[in-house]
Amino acid sequence: MAVIEVKNLRKYYKVHQKEPGLSGSIRSLFHRKYYDVKAVDNVSFEIGEGELIGFIGPNGAGKTTTLKVLSGLLYPTSGHVSVLGFTPWDRKPAFQKQFSLVMGQKNQLWWDLPAIESFILNKEIYEVPDNKYKKTLDELVELLDVADILKVQVRKLSLGQRMKMELIAALIHSPKILFLDEPTIGLDVVMQKKMRDFIKEYNHRYRATIILTSHYMDDVKELCDRVVIIDKGKLIFDGLLDEIIKKYADHKLITVIFSKNNVTRADVEKLGELKEFESPKAVISVKRASAPKVAAKILEEFPVADINLEEPQIEDIIREVFTGKDFA
């Protein structure tokens, strides 16, 4: 059963435009030009219980706007949205108690107090019973390994420690749905890894439905089976991560290391699109279908020390998707 249903979601808003320079400033003082931005443009998808979904897309693609609509912060311009059977923007407490929104760079902890005080506050806000609170807190503290810093002023914590505390504050009411907006932003590699492990574990243990947006492909690669790609407000892909490769990667990469230095750039260029050439190494991109043929040809015609046939990196594919290669 789908816990999140989005049908034909649109969110447009107006922004004003300022002309550059002094005279522009003065003109905009009296008269402002507005234009429509289509932050989300006819997006539909469904998410089932316990799924862990990755939202990817460049800055301004509409990821955060979508999350905000789902959590009831924004009214859509049009379209139907249902989360756990609720219409999010009614902002009913019964609904709000069942989800949590975590934004990587926004904190809800009290800066000058130990994090535990903020947890207690959230406990009251979400009306978590005492015994349930204690149990949840103990579990989270153990999972994130923060027992020794619970009573330290938040301002004295490192960024990574603070992020862990933010997560506890967001999870203290055991939400069924979790919206994570850039949860690993600004963290170091080790911390990112720990964060990912935690999210995965949390997803498994509590069957929580999680939507995650991230700039880091690693987050998505490791955590999500299913991804939704949004660009310029439009949904351009919704499916399994592996399918992206099948759908968009019509090329394979052949890396050859020649055993002699007499192979010239011109020789190799005939074979396919040359990505890299630094004698004795060459990287050639060829059509998926013709890849075996080209490889055989190379082995036949050139002195080869090593040859390797591989799928392109997922990062590269997605970058290509966003830089306007037309797939329609």
Binding site: K18, G21, L22, S25, I26, S28, L29
Partner: protein
């Protein structure tokens, strides 16, 4: 010099983006003048002269105080520098070839220019409403006093703010005390020579009357002894020295603690 001109230009544009903000800020200034105006009107309703001032003189004084205050006291640096030091934004400046205080002084100047333009409009409006007998005769003396006042105001603020180098949570503490003192002691809401002789004499030894009172009475053509200009400049010198010393020390602590 060129870079500060650019700072000036950018700040100038920036002010227009927060247009409503600015208009409200001006509204606040007018409200303050109105409040004192009505207070004095009610006082003058039962008598023709208060401590030697007639009603017309008082109204003229207050209107011009609005102008001088717009010039001297519009200083966004006071609202921002403390925060920038305590949250670490200052570091962005320390690595650039630009003087941090100079940068803010430039932005203050840009703000002053805009404020003066508006103040002139407001005064024109209030003039039409109240028709006071305004007599202005600026001299070199009054211009020098004004320039000196602008600098004293800037330096005094930065000196009060410098406490945040040692106590990052103190972005407003000391500044607030200085602002409270300025509210009453600069001559913004009443001419300082209303005060008893002893109080007025004592005030001369503080920087406050040089901010509004002296430049103002000089501008309306009342004779101001040359001694007061010297004292005003003396305050500039003292404060400049102090700010330089304290900021140098503060920056050292700052980079050592690495906020």
């Amino acid at each position: 010099m060129r870079k500060y001109l650019t700072v000036f230009a950018i700040d100038w544009q920036n002010q227009f983006i927060y247009r409503l903000n600015f208009i409200l800020w001006r509204l606040r200034n007018v409200l303050r003048v109105l409040m004192t105006y009505f207070l004095w009107t009610s006082i003058f309703s039962s008598q023709t002269s208060v401590f030697g001032y007639t009603r017309e003189q008082m109204v003229a004084y207050l209107l011009l105080a609005l102008f001088v205050n717009s010039l001297v006291a519009s200083a966004p640096s006071n609202d921002n520098v403390g925060g920038e030091v305590s949250n670490g934004t200052l570091n962005n400046f320390l690595v650039k070839p630009i003087g941090y205080l100079r940068y803010w002084f430039t932005r203050d100047l840009s703000s002053k220019l805009l404020n003066i333009i508006f103040a002139i409009g407001e005064i024109a409006l209030l003039y039409l409403l109240f028709r006071p007998s305004l007599y202005v005769s600026p001299s070199i003396m009054s211009i020098l006093l004004l320039i000196s006042a602008v600098i004293i105001y800037f330096l005094l603020g930065k000196l009060a703010i410098s406490i945040v180098f040692w106590a990052p949570e103190q972005t407003w503490g000391l500044m607030f005390i200085v602002l409270v003192l300025m509210e009453m002691l600069t001559g913004l809401i009443f001419p300082l020579d209303l005060l008893p002789r002893w109080a007025f004499s004592a005030l001369q030894f503080t920087p406050f009357p040089y901010l509004i009172y002296f430049p103002l009475i000089s501008a309306i053509g009342r004779p101001v002894a040359f001694r007061f200009l010297l004292q005003s400049l003396f305050w500039v010198a003292i404060l400049y020295y102090l700010v330089k010393k304290v900021w140098a020390k503060g920056l050292k602590t700052y980079s050592a603690s690495g906020i």
